[in-house]
């Protein structure tokens, strides 16, 4: 069977599993729809959180980013995992004790203020939509390359699947589907990585393999060979960074804090039965995430070495078939500047002009083909990429629908609606959100990649400080929280919009504040939020006694509600 046959088979089989799981676990009450009635065991919740978190960006793009960025790519590895330590130690147990359904619920109740709730809802919706557009795009890329359908048809198929299980299943359906999706995506990521590690270094564990000697008998360490090749071609050493240390520091911090503040990640900790389970499920989540995140840098180093040795200085007539396949999608392009028919792939430090452009996003998908692995492995990677994109999209759509039905309609506009009406609204909102997300997948705004920085920056500058202060500083009142969030968001959004959308031509280190790039500015936004919040709250009245008691209560595990005993 050829690549396309295997891909069809594996994608269809995995989709059948997801739909089966979704039918078995569909939601019948708002409690089940929003938080799976808080009955998900911690290990399974860890898996679901991992699938929820690891998006098309983690699966498809991250290893490619690292392959091209070398050590600078570490900001993503540390930034997107370190946030879970913050979640487990500073947020998850207390939010689970608090109960309820959403992040705006906590912000609104703790700060006894509808204004705070609305600010939180707007942030949650914006952050989630930004993310979901990127996921639908990932679905489109996989479909167009591997299944021979257009990007648009691919997005439609993805929308239909997500619609089915997010709208019907709610959080309960999503959670159990995500467990299945985690298994598919981690298997699909590890199999080719292990194959390639064996081929290149003779060691089956990629995490160890990429620190080992090459299997070609040269006795050279893989990373030394890669450093040498990169330098020769003018790219600079792979294991050295080019970013300023301060900027790396701030970007890593913004990604960590942003991760801990993302509403679709936080809400997962409302779904477990106990406070104790909330702590341990953060640990399981990170363990499952770390499996992929420690493999990714190995995949990056293998892919980069393979690319440099197989493509560079090869006659164009002699390129392997994967090269021609990807050329057809426009994601790889060769321009013979000196007319010698040979591909000169060169970095900025080389005197020879570079003739090859490669989209970083294809590295993981093309890797099995570059290493000439069997057809079924290539098909498996396609199924894994789809699992990653769909699981994240579903989690985000749920946050959007919950925000609309619960936080806006029930809590702010019409508290009198029945649970049945609320559930119906949540389903309609999820349906509409799927359609909007699909629209962005088909007509991606040119700035999707740019606004992802904004999503993390806003999460870091708004939710994270508001929640932390709400738990750890009893004296924090609504004035401090609202002013802090608004100051943090305004500064962060302003900075990113200025450099990314208004004046992209000024976007380099000379113009940045203290040399901090827009990717890292969320950290500064967070510090501004905290400062403003502390100053304003010290000048305004202390929160009511009932609120101070609430804070005392969430600080201890005993007495956590048995989940959401809501009757349908």
């Amino acid at each position: 069977m050829n690549v396309q046959g295997w891909t069809f088979l594996l994608v269809a089989a995995s989709f059948a599993v997801y739909i089966g799981v979704a039918m078995w676990a569909r939601a019948s009450s708002t409690g089940e729809f929003y938080v799976a009635a808080a009955r998900v065991p911690p290990v399974l919740n860890g898996m679901a959180t991992a699938a929820d978190w690891m998006s098309a960006a983690s699966f498809i793009s991250m290893a490619g980013l690292i392959a091209f960025m070398g050590r600078d790519g570490s900001v993503y590895l540390m930034g997107w995992t370190g946030g879970y330590v913050l979640l487990a130690l500073l947020l998850a147990p207390y939010l689970r004790k608090f109960g309820k359904y959403t992040v705006p619920d906590f912000v609104g109740d703790r700060y006894y203020s509808q204004t705070a709730r609305i600010v939180a809802v707007v942030c949650a919706i914006f952050v989630s939509f930004t993310y979901v557009a990127g996921q639908m795009r990932g679905v489109g890329i996989v479909f167009s390359r591997f299944l021979g359908v257009g990007i648009n048809e691919g997005v439609f198929i993805g929308m239909a699947i997500v619609f089915f299980y997010a709208v019907l299943g709610g959080m309960k359906g999503i959670t159990y589907t995500q467990v299945a999706q985690y298994c598919v995506l981690i298997f699909a990521y590890l199999v080719p990585a292990i194959f390639i590690s064996l081929l290149m270094t003779g060691i089956a564990v990629p995490q160890i393999g990429f620190g080992n000697t090459l299997a070609d008998g040269s006795g050279m360490y893989l990373l030394d060979r890669l450093d040498g090749l990169s330098q020769e071609l003018g790219f600079g050493r792979y294991t050295s960074g080019t970013k300023e240390t301060l900027d790396v520091f701030f970007i890593t911090a913004a990604l960590m804090v942003g991760t801990a503040g993302l509403p679709h990640v936080i809400v997962r900790f409302y779904t477990v039965p106990k406070v104790r389970a909330a702590r341990s499920s953060a640990g399981w989540a990170l363990l499952f995430i770390a499996l992929l995140y420690t493999t990714a840098p190995a995949v990056a180093a293998f892919a980069r070495t393979n690319l440099l040795t197989t493509i560079s200085d090869r006659p164009y007539d002699d390129v392997p078939t994967w090269f021609t396949n990807w050329e057809a999608t426009g994601l790889i392009a060769f321009e013979d500047k000196n007319g010698d028919g040979v591909i000169q792939y060169r970095g900025p430090a080389s005197e020879t002009p570079n003739e090859l452009t490669i989209d970083r996003d294809i590295m993981v998908l093309a890797n099995p083909e570059i290493a000439r692995l069997p057809a079924w492995v290539v098909g498996l990677v396609a199924a894994g990429g789809l699992a990653a994109a769909l699981s994240t999209a579903a989690g985000l759509l749920l946050v959007i629908s919950t925000s609309v039905a619960h936080d806006l309609l029930k809590k702010a506009i019409r508290p009198s609606i029945t649970e049945h009406q609320e559930l119906l609204t949540a389903r309609i909102a999820a349906g509409l959100a799927v359609i909007v997300a699909g629209y962005f997948g088909i007509n991606p705004p040119g700035f999707v990649a740019e606004v992802v920085a904004l999503a993390f920056g806003l999460a870091a500058a708004s939710f994270f400080p508001a929640i932390i202060l709400g738990i750890f500083y009893k004296r924090m009142n609504k004035y401090g929280a609202v002013f802090g969030m608004v100051a943090g968001i305004t500064f962060t959004a302003g900075y990113i919009i200025f450099f990314k959308l208004v004046h992209p031509e000024l976007n380099h280190a000379d113009h940045w504040l203290f040399g901090i790039s827009p990717e890292g500015i969320g950290t500064v936004g967070m510090l501004i939020n905290v400062t403003v919040a502390l100053v304003v709250s010290s000048m305004t009245p202390a929160p009511p006694v009932a609120i101070q008691r609430l804070v005392d209560d969430i600080r201890v595990p005993r007495g956590a509600g048995p989940g959401h005993e809501v009757t349908a």
Partner: protein
């Protein structure tokens, strides 16, 4: 009771402070601020700073969370603030 709760909270804060110090040291310290110095040390094909930035920090993160889980489960029991089993 409230005295016990006060001590419970202080101990919790101390655990968090210690664990976050380690969290900071392996990522921001070893992986970013002192990466060049550590890169002079080599273990097999890895330069140590590079290894912390792309591998080591992540392993330590996982361990930190499970250590915190164990410490807090013990602390909850000592202060009789753990969740009773009768809750489903």
């Amino acid at each position: 009771m409230s005295d016990s709760r006060g001590r419970y909270w202080q101990t919790n804060l101390r655990y968090v402070a210690i664990l976050l110090t380690i969290w900071f040291a392996v990522s921001y310290g070893a992986g970013i601020l002192f990466v060049e110095q550590l890169n002079r040390i080599r273990i097999a094909g890895f330069q140590l700073g590079f290894w912390f930035a792309q591998q080591g920090a992540i392993y330590v993160f996982v361990v930190l969370i499970f250590v915190y889980v164990a410490l807090m489960n013990r602390l909850d029991r000592r202060h009789e603030l753990d969740e009773q089993e009768d809750i489903r």
